[in-house]
């Protein structure tokens, strides 16, 4: 063994053994971290505040005596959350190929812009004369979205994709009610995201399924078959959740319009076609845009999102308040239905207090300006290129439910290639975790058995894709060779082993309580 002069070994000899449990349960950089409630206490605080002024209280005899909230000092808080963060996967650390979720690079310039005091530190109800730049930003974002989509109007206020879906379908309902033409049914393909039928139902519509044809797309004949005078509209995702462009979309739109119905396009996958095709040219009446997908505002562990909706000429007047108008050099907000009626519009109402996800508007516009017209088109092309490159790299070892055909920004596999291997889609995904990858979207869309939906996005380099493909090839080979333990017990190397979701649902524990036993080390 080589040593330095103080006797400290400098070679790696003797190290590297694996199954060696530690006393603490920690694994080097992976450190066990108790709950806040097990480390803090109610008398401690990490914020130094001045003495309150001495005044006679006017709380109306409803004063609070205690809360039970623990506090921590600042260094303890820092350590708690840094340790928690080390148990998370992130796009900044590696490929995050969740199909239809679009985990692309989140540029830090966008974060910096959103934190400019002129955007981050302004109040939604300040006098409008003091927020002209904020209104200009909203107006500019709206203009970019309209040019990209070829539509006539936009509602910026929806707070997320599903909120945008509601906005679009509410405008359709309002338009039909205004014509005295109340309708009761919404058509939704079986491959749709679950938010589509849930949105239709929340507006009082019943849902009629449209089956897909053998190649995974929707046929105009199938749509015509279920269209009728009771149909308010169709909710169609394009490119669809199988990663395919609905090539008969124009004919479908025509059929829908002929029946007096409207075409809602779920824009979750708009990122595949920016600069390549415009929904307005395809016959779409309204579409939500997930700013956190196409325009890279961070997903933040599950939100906040932002779901602006673009409208055709026919629906634009029913867009909700608020909205921004420009008169000469001055921008102003139309904040109430009464004011909008005076402005000649017919909004269906208001969906949220204030004006929408301004922080996300800034980030999205920063993304758009950075890419520009040419860069956004290139991003769409690279996203599609990358998905097809994965398809080409895996088509001989994994199976595609609708045959080997060109896909858009995501590629869909099923579990046929795992048949008789004793390995499920879930097992396969968990083995990917051990290899250092976040798994793809699993078991969605529901129309495909054991679905695996891979969306690499334009952010991955060729080297990253090559490594991903090589690893999945290794895993398919291992599954084929009967190395099932690698899969069924996975993940072996993650911060946690597989979690018992059934137990969580059957005996729900949704909060810490003081009499809960503290977690003993493993």
């Amino acid at each position: 063994m080589s040593m330095n002069r103080g006797g400290r070994p400098t070679s790696a000899q003797g190290g590297g053994t694996t199954d060696h449990p530690t006393f603490t349960g920690n694994k080097a950089l992976q450190i066990e971290e108790p709950l806040l409630f097990e480390v803090g206490n109610t008398t401690k605080t990490g914020v130094d505040l001045p003495e309150p002024g001495n005044v006679e209280n006017r709380l109306g005899d409803l004063e609070r005596q205690s809360i039970g909230l623990p506090g921590l000092s600042e260094p303890e808080v820092m350590r708690h959350y840094v340790r928690l963060s080390q148990k998370n996967y992130a796009i900044d650390a590696g490929i995050y190929p969740l199909g239809s979720c679009t985990m692309k690079h989140n540029a830090r310039l966008n974060e910096k812009m959103a934190r400019l005091p002129g955007f981050g530190d302004v109040h939604p109800l300040q006098p409008q004369s003091t927020v002209q730049g904020a209104l200009e930003l909203m107006h500019t974002l709206a203009a970019w979205l309209l040019e990209m989509t070829g539509m006539a109007g936009v509602a910026l206020s929806p707070k997320a994709g599903a909120h945008g879906e509601f906005c679009g379908m509410a405008a359709i309902k309002a338009a039909q009610l205004a014509k005295g033409d109340a309708r009761s049914v919404v058509l939704v393909p079986e491959s749709a995201h679950g938010t589509n039928p849930a949105t239709a139902a929340s507006l009082g519509y019943s849902v009629r399924d449209i089956p897909a044809r053998d190649d995974g797309t929707v046929s105009p004949e199938a749509v015509r078959e279920v269209l009728g005078p009771d149909v308010a509209g169709i909710m169609l995702t394009n490119p669809n959740t199988c990663g395919l462009f609905e090539r008969d979309i124009v004919e479908i739109a025509d059929a829908v319009h002929e029946a007096g119905a409207y075409f809602y396009c779920d824009g979750a996958n708009f990122n595949a076609i920016v600069g390549k095709a415009r929904p307005g040219d395809l016959g779409v009446d309204c579409m939500h845009i997930n700013l956190h997908k196409t325009f890279s505002t961070p997903h933040g562990g599950g939100g906040p999102g932002s779901g602006p909706v673009v409208f055709s000429e026919a629906l634009a007047t029913h867009a909700p308040v608020p909205y921004v108008i420009q008169t000469g050099e001055t921008y102003s907000l139309v904040e109430s239905v009464e004011a909008a009626l005076e402005d000649g519009e017919h909004p269906f109402g208001r969906q949220t207090a204030f004006h929408g996800q301004m922080g996300m508007f800034v980030r999205a516009l920063s993304y758009m300006m950075s890419h520009g017209s040419d860069g956004m088109r290139q991003a769409s092309e690279d996203a599609v290129l990358n998905a097809n490159y994965i398809r080409a790299g895996l088509r001989d070892v994994m199976t595609q439910p609708f045959g080997d055909q060109v896909c858009m920004h995501e590629v869909l596999f099923d579990d046929t290639f795992l048949k008789d291997s004793g390995v499920t889609t879930l097992d396969f995904a968990k083995a990917m975790i051990d290899e250092g990858f976040h798994p793809m979207t699993m078991y969605f869309p529901l129309v495909v058995h054991g679905a695996m939906l891979i969306e690499p996005t334009e952010s991955e380099s060729k080297a990253s894709l090559d490594q991903f493909i090589a690893t999945l090839r290794d895993l398919t080979r291992a599954a084929g060779e009967g190395d099932t333990e690698r899969f069924t017990g996975a993940p072996y190397h993650a911060p946690m082993a597989r979690l018992d979701e059934t137990r969580a649902a059957r005996q729900p524990i949704l909060r810490w309580t003081p009499d809960m036993p503290a977690e003993a080390a493993e």
Binding site: M78, A198, A339, L499
Partner: protein
């Protein structure tokens, strides 16, 4: 383009591996007559400096809250956020992760959500909370729909003290699903008799405290009256710091509490993103909307956390789901929970006392001016004054003098002419003695 890793040589090699000649071959399914050949009519790509210049110029045309004496509230409040909060939420592992679908590599997100749910339950005095909503107003709409499901009744009774934009959100939802709403008239004087509006058809009664005018309400008799008629009480809190000083709705009989959590950790952001807090009774959890995190164990018996009760949710139940909600407000919930763990009970209660004391001092200073009356004898950190003349003009005149003095009540309720002379004023820990003196002096000048 700095965000795109491929070189042209990479692209060429990849096309060849795929077995196509050009990128357009991959877009062949787009019908030719609708394919875009010309570039979009938008500027070309821009470097960081150029984007900073353009957006910086827009930002510079706004007046940040920190730059002036600032007293605007009505559902969003200027509070100080410790530097630690913004540093931590920008860690890659929090900022750039997705909904925790793979719990083995998402325990960071899941544990903070579990802690967040616990904090929200403790603050509101309720048994359980979800993993957050988009904001307080949308949470309020979802609470009304939840009450419909629980009571199988349809009528919602809304107090006139409810934030008018929250009322509009509920009204919009209920109009579209054709459910009746009885919205009581704006109630700046605190004279409404909401109990009289509750009957056998009432699904829920929605009461905000402190209300939009700042007045504090004892919810106990309202809850009792609602329960007697088989209705639920939905309590709304738009200034969550108030629960550091005031008895929580859960101790006054509320069945659902919805709150805006923006005041703790999140910042103003011109109205969003914010974080909606949603809490209820344990017995109602299966009708609760939104994502929920629960405790469980892993295959080795070790404690861990997962998203749970998903059989309520749209991705499983589709059109039978309790709500169409898919995202929560994860990163804002993180900011909230970090700030609250720094504050703790001791810090939050002190912060609340400072807010109250500053508001009392400001109310005294403003009502010392001739012609200015206080409408809200009880309040936390926000109160309503009546001024001679139009409130909107006064607010604008104050802004010209560099004071952002509050919100004219008629901005939120343009159809209620009786509110034209009312100004809703908020004070928080960020206001100094000098700020208050400057406000009083400016108001005196404007009114003279």
């Amino acid at each position: 383009m700095r965000y795109l890793p491929h070189t042209d040589a990479d692209r060429k090699a990849m096309l060849s591996s795929i077995g196509v000649n050009s990128i357009d071959d991959l877009f062949a399914d787009i019908p030719a007559d609708v394919r875009l050949d010309a570039p979009l009519d938008l500027p070309p790509n821009a470097g960081e400096m150029e984007v900073e210049r353009q957006l910086g110029a827009m930002a510079a045309r706004n007046t940040p809250a920190s730059s002036v004496p600032f007293f605007v509230g009505c559902g969003a409040y200027k509070h100080h956020v410790p530097a630690t909060v913004d540093h931590l939420i920008q860690r890659s592992e929090f900022l750039t992760s997705y909904t925790p679908y793979q719990p083995e590599i998402s325990q960071g997100t899941l544990q903070y959500l579990f802690e967040f749910q616990t904090q929200v339950a403790l603050l509101t005095g309720m048994e359980v909370a979800n993993a957050s909503m988009y904001d307080g107003s949308t949470g309020c709409g979802e609470a009304v729909l939840m009450a419909h499901r629980l009571t199988r009744r349809s009528k919602a009774v809304l107090s006139g003290g409810l934030h008018p934009q929250y009322r509009d959100v509920v009204q919009t939802l209920c109009n579209l699903s054709e459910e009746p709403v009885e919205a009581l008239a704006a109630d700046p004087d605190g004279t409404e008799d909401i109990i009289a509006a509750i009957d056998e058809e009432t699904a829920c009664v929605v009461v905000q405290s402190p209300d939009v005018y700042g007045r504090i309400h004892d919810l106990t008799p309202i809850a009792a009256a609602a329960h007697e008629k088989g209705a639920l009480l939905i309590a709304v809190v738009t200034e969550i710091v108030s629960l550091g000083a005031l008895k929580p709705p859960g101790e006054m009989g509320a069945d659902i509490v919805v709150a805006e959590g923006q005041s703790i950790g999140v910042g103003l952001n011109f109205g969003g993103p914010y974080v909606g807090l949603f809490a209820t009774r344990q017995k109602y959890i299966r009708q609760m909307p939104g994502r929920v995190c629960g405790e469980t164990v892993d295959a080795n018996g070790k404690r861990g956390f997962v998203l749970t009760l998903s059989t309520r949710e749209q991705h499983i139940r589709r059109e039978k789901a309790t709500s169409n909600i898919c995202t929560n407000s994860g990163l804002c919930a993180l900011a909230f929970t970090i700030h609250l763990s720094l504050l703790g009970e001791a810090g939050l209660m002190r912060l609340a006392r400072i807010n109250h004391a500053n508001a009392v001092a400001l109310a005294d200073a403003l009502t010392a001016i001739e012609g200015v009356d206080l409408l809200t004898p009880s309040f936390f950190n926000e109160f309503t004054i009546r001024v001679p003349g139009k409130g909107a003009d006064v607010i604008e005149a104050l802004a010209q003098k560099g004071i952002l003095g509050g919100v004219c009540a008629s901005r939120l309720s343009p159809d209620e002419k009786a509110l034209d002379d009312l100004i809703i004023v908020a004070a928080t820990e960020v206001n100094t003695d000098e700020d208050r003196a400057a406000y009083a002096a400016a108001l005196k000048e404007v009114l003279s």
